[in-house]
C-alpha cells in the first residue's frame, strides 16, 4: 500500500500538479505535527476561498482595476507557491502578466483556467491524503525522481 501511495505521489509530480515545495512541506511533518501537510493544504483551500471571491467580484467590474487584481493574485500566488501547487502557480503568473499589460480578456480567461486547476488539485490531494491516512505514518518523505 505504501508503494501505491508513492506511485500516486509520483504521478502528481510527473503530471506537474506539484513541485519541490510540496516535498519541503512533507519534510516538516514530524511527531509533533504528524498531519502537517494535510493541515496546511486544507488551510490553503479554506483561506484562498475569499481571494477567489474577491477576484471574481473584481473581474466583474468595469473598468477593471488591474492593480487590485494584481494585488489579490500576488497573495494567491504566494500561498499556492508555498504549498507546491505548480499548475495553479503557473496560472497565477500568467494572470499577473495580463494585469501588467492591461489585458482584461486574458485575465478572465486565465482565471477560469486557474479555477479549474485549483479544483482539480484539491480533488487529487483529497484522494491522496485519504489514502495516506489509511497507510499510516510513513518515515520521512521520499523525494520523487
Amino acid at each position: 500500500m505504501q508503494r501505491q501511495l508513492a506511485t500516486m505521489k509520483q504521478s502528481l509530480f510527473d503530471q506537474g500538479y506539484l513541485d519541490e515545495q510540496f516535498v519541503q512541506l512533507e519534510e516538516l511533518q514530524d511527531e509533533v505535527n504528524p498531519n502537517f501537510v494535510e493541515e496546511v493544504v486544507t488551510l490553503y483551500y479554506r483561506d484562498s476561498v475569499r481571494l477567489v471571491q474577491n477576484l471574481e467580484q473584481a473581474l466583474e467590474k468595469n473598468p477593471l482595476d488591474f492593480s487590485k487584481l494584481d494585488s489579490y493574485m500576488h497573495q494567491f500566488k504566494g500561498s499556492s507557491s508555498s504549498i507546491g501547487a505548480k499548475k495553479v502557480k503557473i496560472e497565477c503568473t500568467q494572470f499577473r502578466e495580463y494585469c501588467r499589460t492591461g489585458n482584461g480578456e486574458g485575465c478572465k480567461r486565465t482565471f477560469q483556467q486557474l479555477k479549474k486547476e485549483y479544483a482539480t488539485l484539491k480533488k487529487k490531494l483529497e484522494v491522496y491524503f485519504q489514502f495516506a491516512r489509511q497507510v499510516g505514518p510513513v518515515e520521512k518523505a521520499r523525494r520523487p525522481k
Binding site: Q21, Q24, L25, E27, L28, D30, V32, N33, F36, V40, L43, Y44, D47, H74, Q75, K77, G78, S79, S81, S82, I83
Partner: protein, 148 residues
C-alpha cells in the same frame, strides 16, 4: 545560562508575514530548527509586540530584549518589510538584532535597498529548510546572540 559554547538552546525569532500559509510555514521551519517563534501578521503588530510603537523606547514589555532575530516579508499592506526594518534600526533597543527580509519576488533594487538599510540577508520565498538552517547557523549561535 553559563556561557556555553555552541548554539543557544532556543533562540527567539519574531516572524512577520501577512500571508497565513507563509506564517505557518516559517513558524514550523523555525520550530524544527529549535527556535522559539512569535508570529505577527503585519508590521504594526510586530512593533507593538516589541514595544516600539510611538517611538516609545521605554517598552511596556520586555519582549524586545528577548528577540534574537526578526524575519519579515517585504510586501505587506500598511507597512512594508522595508519600513519595518527602518523602524527597527531606528530603535536603540533593537537596532543590533539581525533582520532578514523575505520576498517572493527577486527585485535587485528591492534587495539592495534592504541590505543598505541594514538587513542581514534577503531570502526568496518560499523558504526551504536549508535556508532556515543557514540563518540559524549564521545569526543565532552563541557568539552572535547577546545574553538575555
Amino acid at each position: 545560562m553559563d556561557g556555553a559554547v555552541g548554539f543557544v538552546e532556543e533562540p527567539h525569532v519574531l516572524a512577520v508575514d501577512d500571508n497565513l500559509i507563509d506564517r505557518i510555514l516559517v513558524e514550523k521551519l523555525l520550530k524544527n530548527s529549535s527556535c522559539k517563534v512569535t508570529t505577527a501578521e503585519n508590521g504594526q503588530r510586530a512593533l507593538e509586540y516589541l514595544g516600539l510603537v510611538e517611538n516609545n523606547q521605554t517598552s511596556s514589555n520586555d519582549n524586545a530584549s528577548k528577540v534574537n532575530m526578526i524575519i519579515t516579508d517585504y510586501c505587506m499592506p500598511g507597512m512594508t518589510g522595508y519600513e519595518l526594518l527602518k523602524k527597527i534600526k531606528e530603535s536603540s533597543v533593537m537596532k543590533d538584532v539581525p533582520v532578514v527580509i523575505m520576498s517572493s519576488e527577486n527585485v535587485p533594487t528591492r534587495i539592495n535597498k534592504c541590505l543598505e538599510e541594514g538587513a542581514e540577508m534577503f531570502m526568496l520565498k518560499p523558504l526551504k529548510f536549508s535556508d532556515v538552517k543557514k540563518l540559524r547557523c549564521q545569526f543565532l549561535c552563541s557568539s552572535t546572540v547577546r545574553a538575555s
